[in-house]
């Protein structure tokens, strides 16, 4: 069996992916070698050639930032693969993206303005609200519309109790649970320094940027806006 993890940006998905793989003795491909180049800022997507890996490999946890658009869903459906979708509070995502761009990194699918360093703090938040947040909302809706065997992992709930969160994932996958092993692996298997920290963006994001985000959520209309407000803010 293979497992697919698709994540919104900065949603703690690397830690979940690597921990899950270690618990199961699976291999991880972050998908980047399969689907895009490491240097690329491209939108992640499953191309026909890369899709072959879904069928040829076994005991893999795949991890990318793919949306649930037609082609991606088509290949995952053919591969009969369970899909974990990770999302997080949008303001924390914005905070983390801001830090990521400041380090010179890209956002997949969204070109960043140059030179970023000349932007004031307010301008950075405004740009993120107007340009990066639409991707996160589109990611959310694409999967909310999807009919595959999916399970949503909300960052805040998972990182409030990682062991319980991982047990829920394993139960969903109908795989055996060894709580001691899970706890031991989760303890050591941290990837990025701020994994598990919630609320930084909520505090730092200026009100005008929050208003832009709420307007965008509102623009999606029912039933998505209600779900987004519940899961992403």
């Amino acid at each position: 069996m293979n497992i697919y993890v698709t994540s919104g940006h900065r949603t703690g998905s690397m830690h979940i992916t690597f921990s899950l793989a270690r618990i199961l003795d699976y291999q991880v491909t972050s998908g980047i070698p399969c689907f895009t180049r490491r240097t690329g800022a491209d939108e992640h997507m499953i191309t026909p050639m890369a899709a072959q890996t879904l069928f040829l490999l076994d005991r893999m946890v795949f991890h990318t930032h793919i949306k649930g658009t037609h082609g991606n869903v088509f290949f995952l459906e053919k591969a009969e693969m369970p899909v974990l979708i990770t999302v997080r509070n949008l303001f924390d995502v914005m905070m983390s993206l801001k830090e990521k761009i400041e380090k010179g990194n890209h956002i997949n699918g969204v070109p960043c303005p140059i030179p970023w360093t000349n932007f004031s703090e307010d301008d950075k938040w405004r740009w993120l609200a107007l340009n990066a947040v639409p991707w996160e909302l589109q990611f959310y809706v694409s999967w909310a519309r999807c009919i595959l065997n999916t399970r949503w992992v909300l960052y805040e709930r998972f990182y409030a109790d990682e062991v319980a969160g991982m047990i829920k994932i394993l139960n969903w996958l109908d795989l055996p649970v060894d709580e001691g092993r899970i706890a031991a692996i989760l303890k050591v298997d941290k990837t990025n320094f701020n994994v598990g920290v919630s609320g930084r963006g909520v505090k730092a994001c200026p009100d005008f940027a929050k208003d832009i985000v709420y307007s965008q959520i509102d623009a999606w209309g029912s039933p998505f806006k209600e779900k987004m407000l519940r899961h992403l803010t």
């Binding site: 895009t36 180049r37 240097t39 690329g40 800022a41 491209d42 939108e43 997507m45 191309t47 026909p48 050639m49 949306k67 649930g68 658009t69 037609h70 082609g71 991606n72 088509f74 890209h106 699918g109 969204v110 070109p111 303005p113 140059i114 030179p115 000349n118 932007f119 301008d123 405004r126 740009w127 107007l130 340009n131 639409p134 909302l137 589109q138 809706v141 694409s142 519309r145 307007s215 965008q216 509102d218 623009a219 999606w220 209309g221 029912s222 039933p223 998505f224």
Partner: protein
């Protein structure tokens, strides 16, 4: 009938990276007819017609197409790292097609009204028919406008030789001048104004190709927001306004 002689000075395979609803199908087909080669929109090889997928340059497909012959390639691809790297690897210099943003938005809206699954690449649909008129414009404003700005920004920043083609110039009395630029960029002999005009007159793409100015009718709130969205790009604001909002 074209011969190999016609292609001996070819500088690049014709590759059009187009914003959505920019009259690009017609431009690609004109180019294909003048050059006597087929047009391929690579997404159709691996996604269905109503695909919501982002358009990407597929390395395997690009390799295969190259061995099959010379094509006019046409995608709604952004100039991001991987796309640009693959185009460079195959010696392809893209032509980037843009159009007045408000005219694009009117066209996007019409497309969404008539085709149940259709959106701009990479952008999933809302429950579109449940939204009222203002709601539809708000959704387009917050989701489609960023796509256009990001599309242009990606090519603006991309370190690759590119030719910018604007709808308003192609669909004008200067059509021959623009088509000449395209043929010169590609390195194909120019057949002259009459032949170009003959191909340009043949409209087999979409019914409204060549109309400009319909975007004047979109709500002021959407226009004002589009200016604010352009402003958020800092140093790129002026260029975005020149290209999309003038």
């Amino acid at each position: 009938m074209k011969t190999l002689e016609d292609f001996k000075n070819l500088k690049t395979m014709p590759y059009f990276a187009a914003g959505s609803r920019t009259g690009s199908s017609h431009i690609a087909r004109c180019t294909g007819r003048i050059m006597g080669i087929p047009v391929q929109a690579p997404r159709f090889l691996f996604a269905d017609h109503f695909s919501t997928d982002d358009h990407q340059v597929d390395p395997a497909l690009m390799g295969a197409i190259r061995h099959l012959g010379i094509w006019v390639l046409h995608q709604h691809s952004k100039g991001m790292g991987n796309n640009v790297a693959i185009l460079k690897a195959y010696g392809i210099k893209p032509m980037v097609i843009v159009r007045n943003l408000f005219d694009c938005l009117v066209s996007v809206k019409e497309q969404m009204e008539v085709a149940e699954n259709m959106t701009t690449p990479g952008v999933p649909r809302p429950e579109y028919y449940e939204l009222d008129e203002d709601g539809k414009w708000d959704w387009i404003s917050y989701n489609i406008v960023p796509w256009y700005y990001q599309f242009y920004a990606s090519w603006h920043y991309a370190k690759i030789d590119k030719l910018l083609i604007h709808y308003r110039e192609f669909y004008s009395d200067d059509n021959f001048k623009v088509m000449s630029k395209i043929l010169d960029w590609v390195g194909f002999p120019n057949p002259g104004p009459e032949e170009v005009a003959r191909h340009h007159a043949r409209r087999d793409a979409r019914f409204n190709v060549g109309y400009s100015g319909r975007g004047n009718a979109i709500p002021d709130t959407v226009k004002e927001r589009a200016y604010a969205q352009a402003k958020s790009w800092g140093p790129l604001e002026k260029t975005l306004k020149d290209i999309y909002l003038d």
